[in-house]
């Protein structure tokens, strides 16, 4: 009887797709704001994966004499859902847990000065950055854009 039952490919493809979606985000789509800010590409993969998993499980349990997957199906479905939930939690919740920074300087405030070393070990202050001409320019810059980032610790 076993040999007559079809391979339940929907379950296996449904299990594979979330990994493909997440890999596509981590290695490609995270680079572009339009696919990073809302991670819709992996979520599209997840949607197709869920449809295939449900279809596969319905075949495994609804027509057990025709389809395999009564054991592998639930296991792979649980693993897939856990993986998708983990990714959704990471991108929709975890990366938003930033402090409110209510005390940060506002438009119109004087920018707090600082004194920090650059990549050559030379110490620079904000006042110096604002008054020192850069490169081939003869005049100091019109302003500076301070970009604070998390760092590659």
């Amino acid at each position: 009887m076993d040999s007559n039952r079809h391979w339940n490919w929907r379950i296996w493809v449904g299990f594979l797709l979330p990994w493909v979606g997440i890999a596509s985000y981590v290695f490609v789509f995270v680079r572009y704001p339009i696919t990073r800010n809302v991670p819709w590409v992996p979520f599209l993969f997840f949607l197709v994966a869920l449809i295939l998993l449900i279809a596969g499980l319905r075949r495994a349990f609804g027509q057990p004499s025709a389809y395999r997957g009564k054991i592998a199906g639930p296991i792979l479905a649980v693993l897939s859902v856990a993986l998708m939930a983990f990714f959704a939690f990471g991108t929709l919740y975890a990366t938003r847990q930033l402090p409110a920074s209510k005390g940060a300087p506002k438009v119109g405030d004087k920018a707090p000065d600082f004194s920090l070393p650059d990549t050559h070990g030379k110490t620079l202050t904000l006042a110096e950055l604002l008054t020192t001409p850069t490169g081939s320019a003869a005049k100091p810059p019109k302003g500076v854009l301070l970009i604070f980032y998390r760092g590659y610790w």
């Binding site: 704001p33 438009v107 604070f148």
Partner: protein, 93 residues
């Protein structure tokens, strides 16, 4: 307009980043988070080994030292776009 990158990375780490990514603008090392604290943008314990680091933030400062544009993201995957920054710089003139 002069862009300045600031993080808790050491000058050596920032130099490596510049070399790898080809950045030619100024990177400052705020290893002790003194400037990050002064700007009130500390993300406590979010770094390696529970180190305090900066939450992502951008401040545009004009030549008189006054802040003219601020961007505080609420999701560290979402940053100011080059277009937003260029717009803010254009409005400075």
């Amino acid at each position: 307009m002069r862009p300045i990158g600031i993080s808790v990375d050491t000058p050596e780490e920032s130099a490596n980043l510049c070399k790898k990514a080809g950045y030619t603008y100024t990177f400052l090392s705020d290893a002790g988070a003194q400037a990050i604290r002064r700007y009130n943008i500390v993300h406590p314990g979010a770094g390696e080994n529970g180190k305090d680091i900066a939450r992502p933030a951008e401040f545009l400062v004009d030549s008189t030292g006054v802040i003219r544009w601020v961007n505080l993201t609420d999701d560290f995957r979402v940053r100011a776009t080059p277009e937003q920054m260029l717009d803010a710089i254009k409005n400075l003139r």
